[in-house]
Amino acid sequence: MLKKRIIPCLDIKEGRTVKGVNFEGLRDAGDPVELAKYYSKEGADELVLLDITATQEKRKTMVDLVRQIASEINIPFTVGGGINTAEEALVLLQSGADKVSINSAAVRNPELIRLMADKFGSQCVVLAVDAKFIDSEWIVFLSGGRIQTELNLFDWVKKGVELGAGEILFTSMDHDGTKEGFAIEALEKLSQIVSVPIIASGGCGKKEHFFDVFESGNIDAALAASVFHFREIEIPQLKKYLRDKGISVRI
């Protein structure tokens, strides 16, 4: 049976992890390689590395970092943030990333999804979508939530999958940072309209939230950052809790 995946997300700026991290066991919690190794040993099923570096020039650091992480860890990882072209994606995949996620660039140029799916296979192409519930409609936002579009979340995701996206990473901006749980209704609806795996993101504050999102069986993975970085939730305990509640996880 396929297991539900737990995915810590590392925000990386100019080669260093950002967002406060509180790790006693690590020499340098700002070092993404150390953190990635730590999570893979803890039992994370996958990692997402999100590059929030502002300038193109400094992005080269990310390629080196991806290579280092791929050299050291034995679980899959996705790299996202600021990928605008298939060439940029290729460099990351060749450096050891298993998947790349695209967000704003895909909205601006939907053909990029098709191009990448044709070149690398759908299984490498994650469509990341940030959305907010406005006037009873889920609206897609770009550039880390700064720019509002006119796109409806469900229409966009459906189109993205038709173009070749192999997985959806949906972040609810309304839930992100609240620690009050994932946007379950929207996630469930997404799972009804597309047949690719769905990763839930935004809103996780306690281990019960993971159970809530996995309970129906329709959501495949859940991503969180600060609850793991601040060790409010530890992955071995989380997985044991989920298993005891009847959710199929990898222990």
Binding site: M1, P76, D98, F120, G121, Q123, S195, P197, A221, R250
Partner: protein, 197 residues
């Protein structure tokens, strides 16, 4: 020094396989040179991407015949294993035929495609007998259960997750991404003795 050749035929990411073999002390090198491949102690046929493109690459470079002639242990990973089969629905074409009469088919009755994530190995035997555990998969086509299967998994129906015939081995999952279980499987492969045909 024992060396592991990773066949480079323009098929996507081989770096992770390289890194995993390197961590295990298998002295990997990436090559498309037939002489280098023949000399290696172990050979890995990786593969991510489309079967048709990959098979055309193998044929146009003559690497298809090189692979068939190898006598040392050879492991196909993911698409690499699928290319070792007789026929694949991806591009509707023949593979290398190392596993005779074995077909690669597209997932149709399964919950979601691609099949992404950690799934349990079942029916483990032979080289896989100690690995009743979860391993990492990412694929849209699968190998039917067949006489060469050394493990299977359930996704919609049951499909074959590893194969063996003589010196040829295949893994549908990615051992290089399957945590310590994957490392153990790769270590077993690296420790195999070369058997003369």
């Amino acid at each position: 020094m024992k060396k592991t050749a990773i066949i480079d035929y323009g098929s996507g990411n081989v770096f992770s396989v390289f890194a995993a073999i390197n961590r295990l002390g298998g002295n990997p090198f990436i090559t498309n040179d037939p002489a280098e491949i023949r000399k290696a102690d172990k050979v890995i046929l990786p593969g991510v991407g489309h079967a048709k493109f990959a098979m055309e690459q193998l044929k146009s470079t003559g690497l298809d015949k090189v692979i068939l002639s190898l006598t040392q242990p050879v492991m196909g990973i993911c698409l690499g294993m699928q290319l070792m089969c007789e026929y694949t629905e991806e591009g509707n074409m023949n593979g290398l035929g190392i596993f005779p009469n074995v077909k690669v088919r597209k997932f149709v009755d399964s919950p979601k495609v691609p099949h992404i994530g950690w799934n349990e190995l079942i029916d483990c035997k032979g080289m896989m007998k100690d690995y009743v555990s979860e391993v990492y998969f990412v694929h849209s086509y699968f190998v039917e259960v067949n006489p060469y299967s050394t493990s299977n998994a359930q996704y919609g129906g049951v499909f074959s997750t590893s194969l063996q015939k003589d010196n040829f081995y295949g893994c549908q999952f990615h051992p290089e991404k399957s945590g310590t279980t994957g490392e153990d499987i790769l270590r077993d492969f690296l420790n195999l003795k070369t058997i003369e045909k």
